[in-house]
């Protein structure tokens, strides 16, 4: 299981990256993250919504009420222009951290 601090820090870049592929909703976002991490990245489901609302308030994403296949009300989120910029920044920073870690790991085996 991944530490909760890292789970919290990765929430925004993951949400932005998922939404960059098209609009989505809370439940689907959680399922997708769970599936892509083989269940190792697990959020308390309800905690996703304050994060989404905060990101919406900061102008990174926008939302609209729609309907599910069964006719139930569902809130869809999509990326805004500022969200794309924020996503690019996140990718740059996480890539940097990743490359430093990989570099250090390689040195250990030399």
């Amino acid at each position: 299981m991944i530490r909760k601090e890292l789970v919290a820090a990765s929430a925004e870049p993951l949400i932005l990256s998922l939404l960059s592929r098209g609009e989505s909703y809370g439940y689907a976002i959680i399922q997708e993250v769970k599936a892509r991490s083989d269940g190792k990245l697990q959020w308390t489901d309800g905690m996703l919504y304050p994060v989404l609302h905060r990101m919406e308030h900061r102008g990174l994403i926008k939302s609209r009420w729609g309907e599910s296949e069964t006719g139930r009300k569902r809130k869809y989120y999509s990326l805004k222009k500022d969200g794309k910029t924020a996503m690019a920044k996140h990718h740059e920073q996480w890539s940097l951290v990743h490359s430093v870690l990989v570099g250090l790991q390689k040195e250990q085996y030399v």
Binding site: G26, Y27, R72, K73
Partner: protein
């Protein structure tokens, strides 16, 4: 016998009791809960088990409430910041205008003496001081939003009238320092101090109330 709709209604009541607002975000959370239950039931679980799992997945009401409270606090803080920037800008423009008029002896101030000039500048300084006290968060703590709104929307008039009375009948007549020529009753002394309080209090009242609420939330969270 387990009744899914009754159980969801009871869960809603728990959320409402904890302070989760409706329609947003409670409707969104309920949609999530129902979706989770539906998927689990499709994969073979019975309604009761699916419901129990789903409420565990979604998290406890008090935990969710504290996270949503942080979102609300961010919104209020941003609005407050915007409001304070506007207030400081207005205060700056007003101070600059009157200071320039007084120092350069422009318009109606063309015939003022050095003492009267000082008196006018002191009125400007009092306005800045009062605004500064309010904006720096030293306003009284009024937790009821309606009362704060009432004060902020009306204090320009109520406070102005009160000050005109105090100044016009008590301070002005007994001290010539406050009297500038061509301005009956010391125009700047009548207008600027209430303006300072108005500038300071509009942002300051919200800031003081927010600080107090945040401290209460923090101590509730620690207990």
């Amino acid at each position: 016998m387990f009744n899914l709709e009754q159980s969801i209604a009871a869960w809603r009541q728990q959320m409402l009791a904890a302070g989760i607002k409706t329609p947003v975000p409670l409707e969104e959370l309920e949609g999530h809960l129902r979706e989770d239950i539906e998927r689990q039931m499709k994969s073979g679980l019975n309604a009761q088990r699916a419901f129990e799992n789903a409420i565990q997945h979604i998290g406890k009401a008090n935990m969710l409430k504290s996270e949503f409270a942080k979102v609300d606090a961010t919104k209020v803080a941003n609005r407050l910041k915007q409001c304070q920037i506007i207030m400081v800008a207005c205060l700056g423009v007003e101070s600059l205008f009157w200071t320039t008029c007084l120092l350069l002896k422009k318009g109606r101030f063309s015939e003022i003496t050095a003492a009267q000039q000082m008196s006018g500048l002191a009125a400007v300084a009092v306005m800045i001081l009062l605004a500064g006290i309010g904006l720096s968060g030293h306003s009284p703590v009024i937790l009821r939003r309606k009362v704060r709104d009432l004060i902020c929307t009306s204090n320009g008039r109520l406070l102005g009238l009160l000050w005109v009375w105090v100044f016009g009948f008590v301070i002005g007549p007994v001290d010539t320092f406050f009297v500038l020529p061509n301005y009956a009753g010391g125009f700047l002394w009548i207008m600027l101090p209430p303006a300072g309080i108005l500038f300071g209090f509009i942002g300051g009242l919200e800031k003081a109330a927010m600080k107090k609420t945040a401290m209460a939330d923090l101590s509730a969270g620690q207990s």
